[in-house]
């Protein structure tokens, strides 16, 4: 569905954010992309969504293929038509619009009756949103905003869903609920899911495979089970042990072998 080959991304011509990243997302597969701040996760999201130019970035080298088509330099509208929807980081909803209007905006390609049915489905899934459907979305709670974003993503009728840090700023309990919802949605709609997260524990609970990104390179790739058993990944991202500065340095030393 989505395949990234040796992707290099640079901002303003000088800042190298991705340095040869390759990644595969199969049909109906769920894959997590983990990594600390500044690893290049969001750059990858922007690159596959065709949004790099909006951030003064561009693809220097490598390819993005979507549904078997070359999509490296396609504009976001075309990419969306091909079936990829990216939910960017930072809860990118329209805060001055109501949830209903947000959903209408997201479902802009649907026919009126499809939109209506789609909205009913979203509201049936998230009753809380229905209660607050006519309030400005900016005043919804973090969890409700995240639900709305998922609802909006669904109305774009995606086949590949890329979600960037949905857990950010949510209470642990909400994160758990969110992951369950994402998982359920994926299975129900047969989506391919690329889940970009810092919260590795949450992400690993619902994915098949995982990539770990650091400083613009993939430093680990394997199935989710292997990741949970891998000492490095566990220590560094799941915080199984107290990770202090010393351990972090040890991690860096060991990482060279990964």
């Amino acid at each position: 569905m989505l395949s990234v080959e040796n992707l290099k991304v640079v901002y303003r011509g000088v800042i190298l954010a991705l340095d040869g990243v390759s990644l595969e997302l199969g049909d109906g597969e769920a894959v997590a992309l983990l990594g600390p701040n500044g690893a290049g996760k969001s750059s990858l999201v922007r690159a596959v969504a065709g949004l790099l130019p909006k951030f003064e970035g561009r693809v220097l080298d490598g390819h993005v293929r979507l549904m078997g088509q070359e999509a490296t330099h396609l504009d976001p509208v075309r990419i969306s038509r091909l079936g990829l929807t990216a939910v960017l980081e930072g809860r990118p909803l329209f805060r001055y619009l109501t949830p209903v209007e947000n959903l209408v905006a997201a479902g802009h390609r649907l026919l009126p009756q499809e939109l209506k049915a789609g909205m009913e489905e979203v509201f049936a899934r998230f009753p809380r949103l229905y209660e607050r459907r006519h309030e400005q979305a900016g005043y919804l709670s973090g969890g409700e905003q995240q639900m709305l974003l998922l609802g909006m993503a669904l109305l774009t009728r995606p086949r590949v869903l890329v979600v960037d840090e949905p857990s950010l700023g949510l209470a642990p309990k909400l994160v758990e609920e969110l992951m369950r919802t994402l998982d359920a949605l994926r299975r129900e709609k047969g989506l391919s899911l690329l889940l970009v997260e810092q919260n590795a524990r949450a992400a690993l609970s619902i994915v098949d495979r995982v990539y770990v990104l650091e400083r613009g390179r993939v430093v680990f790739e394997g199935d989710a089970k292997a990741a949970r058993e891998d000492q490095d990944v566990m220590e560094f991202y799941l915080g199984k042990e107290e990770v202090g500065f010393r351990q972090a340095k040890r991690y860096r030393r060991r990482k060279r072998w990964v």
Binding site: L51, T85, V87, F94, Y96, V104, A105, H108, Q136
Partner: protein
């Protein structure tokens, strides 16, 4: 007080045109955050287009013919001048629109010459006598066109899908793009509508007072009107247009004999006073801030 109503009606008729023009200005500002200093020239171009069509068409047809051309003109301005600069420094975009204003001024004089021209033909006379008050045909036409158009646009922006998309893009373009919304096309449409509204205002103004370079000064009124209404409020622009139009006319009648020249300054004084009480303008929106 016998003068009150006639002056009020005349003022509202003027205000309708302020409202139309400010509507176009605010629409563009809201959707693209561009302060279009060339809005007065949009009006000028629209008036001259109407004049040109009126040379060989009856006036109502001339206005109708000028409108799609004006829309196209707005789209072209967006493509050529604004799009390449979007996302750049705010000052760069402002300088570009000021440059555009100067260029259009020059182009208009080059094409149509510097002297005042009068439209051939006229709109059907709709003036009527209501009791002791005579309502001029000009007032009827202005109100008849501006009110439904303004309110209709307002409704469109609030309720229609297209309006929701415009508001979505104006708030977060990147998020809209990520949803696959064709932002470029929609924003170009907004500029088109803005030029269309300016043209209509220009045409109606030209019917009343001829076509000349002085129309640009009418365009300058758009700034106090838009600021008074709240720069991001389309409804506010319409309301403020009528309000300032009426106040100006009444000041012309009642204040001018006491304070000569005050009417010129009145819009700005009103804006100042209102902003002291409501810093976002009459209907401007407060920013949502979550911490």
């Amino acid at each position: 007080m016998a003068d009150f109503l006639p002056y009020l009606i005349g003022g509202l008729a003027n205000g309708a045109l302020y409202g139309l023009l400010a509507l176009g200005f605010v629409l563009v500002y809201r959707a693209t955050s561009v302060v279009n200093f060339a809005i007065g020239e949009f009006l000028l171009v629209g008036a001259y287009l109407t004049y040109t069509f009126a040379l060989f068409l009856p006036l109502p047809a001339a206005i109708l013919a000028a409108i799609p051309l004006a829309f196209l003109f707005g789209v072209l301005v967006e493509r050529g001048f604004v799009r390449p600069l979007l996302g750049r420094n705010v000052v760069a975009v402002i300088m570009a629109t000021i440059g555009l204003a100067a260029a259009l001024d020059g182009a208009v004089q080059l094409i149509w010459g510097p002297d005042l021209k009068y439209l051939s033909g006229s709109l059907p006379n709709l003036g009527f006598q209501a009791g002791e008050v005579f309502v001029s045909s000009r007032a009827v036409w202005n109100l008849l066109l501006a009110l439904p158009l303004g309110l209709g646009l307002l409704w469109l922006l609030r309720r229609s899908r297209y309006g929701i998309l415009v508001r979505a893009i104006s708030e977060r373009e990147v998020a809209a793009l990520a949803l696959g919304i064709p932002t470029a096309r929609i924003l170009a449409g907004v500029w088109g509508v803005s030029a269309l509204l300016a043209t209509l205002a220009g045409a109606l103004l030209a019917v009343a007072s001829g076509v000349g370079h002085n129309l640009v000064f009418f365009g300058l009124k758009v700034f106090p009107v838009a600021i008074l209404g709240g720069l991001d409020s389309v409804g506010g622009a319409l309301l403020a247009g009528f309000l300032l139009g009426a106040l100006e006319a009444l000041s012309q009648r009642y204040l001018e004999p006491v304070l000569p020249g005050f009417t010129e300054a009145l819009p700005f004084v009103v804006v100042l006073l209102v902003l002291l009480v409501r810093p976002y303008g009459l209907l401007g929106e407060r920013q949502i801030e979550r911490v």
